[in-house]
């Protein structure tokens, strides 16, 4: 594609003053990159410390509540006679099984409605 440019303006652009190389400018970029790097390190360190504190604070309550939830989820919904029947029905005859079945049903229902 031929695009004509004004030769006089072209010459003026060619002759126009250019910004001189400035070592201080390069240094300022270097310093800014360094400063941002340190800021990222500081934020990461802060996050690590916060996670540590949170973990220490929540360790005991978390363990307790997780144990309670595990007990609840494995509790049979309907009392069944016989160990082996209870074992076989375990995946559906517990709170966890019921939650799973409800979620699966919801998933199938949504798929049918949406698609």
């Amino acid at each position: 594609m031929i695009e004509q440019r004004d030769s006089r303006i072209e010459a003026l652009f060619a002759d126009a003053e250019h910004a001189p190389p400035d070592p201080e400018f390069t240094q300022s970029i270097t310093r800014e990159i360094q400063r941002r790097r340190w800021r990222v390190y500081a934020i990461r360190a802060l996050v690590v410390v916060m996670i540590g504190i949170l973990e220490l604070a929540l360790e005991s309550p978390l363990q307790q509540s997780l144990g309670t939830v595990a007990d609840l989820l494995s509790t049979p919904v309907i009392a069944v006679e016989g160990d082996w029947i209870e074992f076989v029905l375990g995946p559906i005859n517990t709170a966890a099984g019921v939650v799973g079945i409800v979620l699966l049903g919801l998933h199938v229902f949504i798929r049918r409605v949406v698609h």
Binding site: A19, F25, I29, I33
Partner: protein, 183 residues
């Protein structure tokens, strides 16, 4: 970072870009050293303000540092950094609430006419053009980009770019007539 190996200064740009993309800060420093006169000049042509131009150029280099790892083809670095620079300039215009894309109105048109008798230099003449026209003219004459390339960079319609460059060139000629006569 300031203790860049001496041989970096002689290395081809694509190699320096590759090293910078791998996180070599000395290589990036070398890139900044090489490219800063061009970038600061481009930003001065765009903005007409040396302090603002240096500020924008610094922002461009910081963006380049953040994104250079994603540049898969080092030989495309010149076009890539130019795109970042133009986007930075346009973003700055928009953030400042300037009338980017507004080519001429009565107020803007009056300025060049009032100044034609003065002997002014190129940067002063460019400063009298509307932002969008100046951007197109600078990309055409300073960067020697084609009209479609300018349209792609600025996201302006091709016809608009052509019109801005034609109109901007005419105004520049008129503005610089006085300057040329005194040279």
């Amino acid at each position: 970072m300031s203790n860049a190996p001496a041989y970096y200064a002689e290395g081809p740009e694509a190699l320096i870009v590759s090293l910078a993309a791998r996180g070599d800060r000395d290589a990036f420093s070398e890139l900044v050293r090489r490219r800063q006169p061009w970038l600061r000049t481009l930003m001065r042509r765009f903005s007409g303000d040396p302090a603002l131009a240096d500020d924008l150029a610094q922002r461009v280099f910081l963006k380049v540092w953040r994104r250079i790892r994603k540049l898969k083809q080092p030989e495309k670095f010149p076009g890539w950094i130019k795109r970042i620079a133009v986007n930075e300039w346009i973003d700055h215009q928009r953030k400042e609430g300037n009338r980017w894309q507004q080519a001429y109105d009565d107020e803007l048109q009056a300025a060049p006419i009032a100044s034609t008798a003065e002997a002014i230099d190129l940067d002063a003449a460019l400063a009298l053009l509307p932002d969008v026209v100046r951007t197109c003219v600078v990309l055409s004459y300073n960067e020697r980009l084609s009209h479609p390339e300018i349209a792609a960079l600025t996201k302006l319609p091709l016809g608009t770019v052509k019109s801005h460059i034609r109109r901007g060139s005419l105004d520049l000629r008129e503005l610089l007539d006085g300057y040329g006569a005194q040279q």
